[in-house]
Amino acid sequence: MGLEAKLTQDGFVTTTIDAVVAWARKSSVWPMPMGISCCAIEMIAAADPKYDISRFGSEVMRFTPRQCDLMIVAGTVTYKMAQVVKRIYDQMPDPKWVIAMGACTSSGGMYRSYSVVQGIDQFLPVDVYTAGCPPRPENLLNALITIQEKIGKTRARDFQDIIQPKTEIANN
């Protein structure tokens, strides 16, 4: 965002800048682990010495949303917790992506009851869904690689409409 978002035409310089920026973004995706229940233990297992996640670029799992660009929602989301998840999603800076890990976040899972949200795509835009209850750590790494491929195809002009309106007021 910023300078390269103002480059909207295709040309040799702009496509190279796009490719370099996309490569940099996808090689160092820092996840924010929204670990709520059992899938959180498998997410920690994906970061332990056997299924290392830091060899894919996710070296640190920051628990503050201000420094992350990927949110992994792991665990059953209830109506009470949905307010908190949305609030934290709003605090993450653009560009951001969301992985819905496990059956509970994809569709409510085995909990068809009065207090469980039947899938987080009712209030969050999801990029990759992961199946399993809980999904194996290799499955989570597969989801991460899919997100990296998705990031590798983005161009700067995809993020143009997310520029805050306040900068235009300042220019006048």
Binding site: A82, Q83, S115, V117, Q122, F123, P125
Partner: protein
């Protein structure tokens, strides 16, 4: 077997034969008292030097949807001296459903009674801090009653808006 008979004998001596019903089935012993005498019975069980039921493990309620006495509160107690788990029950009949709180006798009953209030709507008198435990404060229903559906009532819990 001797422990059960000892307990039944001590309770009948100390508390009177007519106030207490005894049920001994499936390996467990349980007493049923009327709800007015509940706190007195609880104090007797805790302070009697032969019984000493000093730990309260659980407080819950049962909803018999079609009986006249709709709710029954159930207390599980444990005595280190006799190494025995005991169950005490009290029946509640008409609206409003109220019973005295035993949190002045066992501290652990504080949160258990809050949870029972949240799930069943039973009011515990003299409870220091009766508010909901699991559901948010503005929720208007009591989930574990038999007339509340498993899937919930749509619109009772609001969701945030999806962006764009």
């Amino acid at each position: 077997m001797e422990v059960k008979e000892l307990i039944i004998k001590k309770v009948k001596e100390g508390f009177g034969e007519t106030n207490v019903e005894v049920v001994d089935a499936l390996g467990d012993l349980s007493f049923t008292v009327s709800k007015d005498k509940l706190v007195e019975f609880a104090k007797f069980l805790k302070t009697n030097s032969d019984l000493e039921f000093i730990m309260c493990k659980d407080v819950t309620a049962i909803d018999w949807a079609t009986r006249k006495k709709r709710f029954t509160t159930v207390y599980h107690l444990y005595s280190f001296k006799l190494n025995f788990n005991l169950r005490v029950k009290a029946n509640l009949d008409e609206e409003p459903y109220q019973v005295d709180s035993v949190s002045s006798i066992w501290e652990s009953a504080n949160w258990y009674e809050r949870e029972t209030f949240d799930m069943y709507g039973i009011d515990f008198k003299n409870h220091p801090d009766l508010r909901r435990m699991y559901m948010p404060e503005g929720f208007q229903y009591y989930p574990l009653r038999k007339d509340f559906p498993v899937l919930g009532i749509p619109g009772s819990l609001p969701l945030p808006q999806k962006p764009e």
